[in-house]
Point group: C2
Chain length 203, copies 2
């Protein structure tokens, strides 16, 4: 049985195809419910090619994970470069997360929902990854500049983005009545109120 007729897909393109297929299956069924043979079948390539490019299943997941985290980080970096004050940055970050969840729900699901500890045991928790660290830095700067109330940084960071992330989960779980974008402005406003320095907070 020929898997990849005339080997029309080869090299880097084959690698990309396998990654895309893995993302779809991992995000839909989970890492453990997806066998290498599932990916092989759906991608229409041979199991030998998959092992040639990635070595083993865990390394395939890790390649995917690194790729997605890097793309997410690039998006956040862009926001941080574009905006300068803390409110605008928080708004931009939340808007970016929403857009990403709308346009690339599978990627978002894999980054946000997957329990990476269970299949990438040597990986630090997601919350220690670059994108999440960037969010924390944004808030830390905001505190330093007096735009955000003085608070413990983990509290401020989770207060700022926890609501949005939680709403992202609801969206990905398909339990929201309205499209995600409908909730954007209110989510940004609530996030900022949670941490904003108000006149009454000044000493």
């Amino acid at each position: 049985m020929t898997e990849n007729p005339k080997q029309s897909v080869r090299g880097a393109a084959l690698r990309k195809l396998v990654l895309d297929t893995a993302l779809e299956r991992f995000s839909r069924d989970g890492y453990f419910n997806t066998s290498i043979h599932d990916i092989r079948r759906q991608a229409g390539v041979s199991i030998g090619s998959i092992y040639h490019h990635f070595g083993n299943k865990e390394a395939l997941a890790k390649a995917l994970y690194d790729d997605l985290l890097q793309r997410m980080d690039a998006g956040l970096a862009e926001v941080m470069g574009r905006e300068s004050d803390c409110r605008a940055r928080c708004d931009g970050i939340i808007a970016f997360l929403f857009e990403a969840a709308i346009e690339a729900p599978q990627a978002m699901r894999f980054v946000l929902e997957a329990r990476h500890r269970e299949f990438l045991p040597d990986e630090p928790p997601v919350c220690s990854s670059q994108p999440f660290q960037r969010m924390r830095e944004c808030i830390e700067q905001g505190i330093g500049r007096g735009e955000v109330r003085p608070m413990e940084v983990p509290v401020a960071a989770t207060a700022a983005f926890g609501g949005a992330i939680r709403l992202l989960h609801l969206h990905l779980d398909g339990v929201l009545e309205q499209p995600l974008a409908h909730y954007l402005a209110e989510t940004q406003e609530a996030a900022w109120r949670a941490i904003a320095m108000t006149p009454a907070d000044r000493p």
Copy 2:
């Protein structure tokens, strides 16, 4: 090889022992990294007993899940009965979640972090479960009474509890510098500010 010498643990006690063991392993290694044989070995019972009491692995996970959700819901119900105004209820709910995460981290990890969809495919998402619905109701009532700003309910609910839940994740991932309790008051305050009706919001 005798597993349960003289069958000292039997009936309901055996069932409980299996559930406790399953919780520890599922929460530490994940559902898919835990085999029935692992649970059998650690609990010191026979595989036959496990299948007698639960039928299959998925049903074991479901029994555990239902049990934990019910306990969590009971805790939230207690808070709702004790407090009447929305701010006190939100504070109480967050305090309860923190206490539960401190005293029963394995249970919290299984309820909050596990991807139940992947091993309980017929179960609705956690966010639709009783405890989470209760939180949403609390906020909805707060809006109705004018204690919370008029907002989309999903936004208000995630804004109120998303930060706390996110911080719980950080705690369970072991990335917080301080003990969780240290962050309680600030988390409650930030949660309330995110949704509170202020004089300036009144028309």
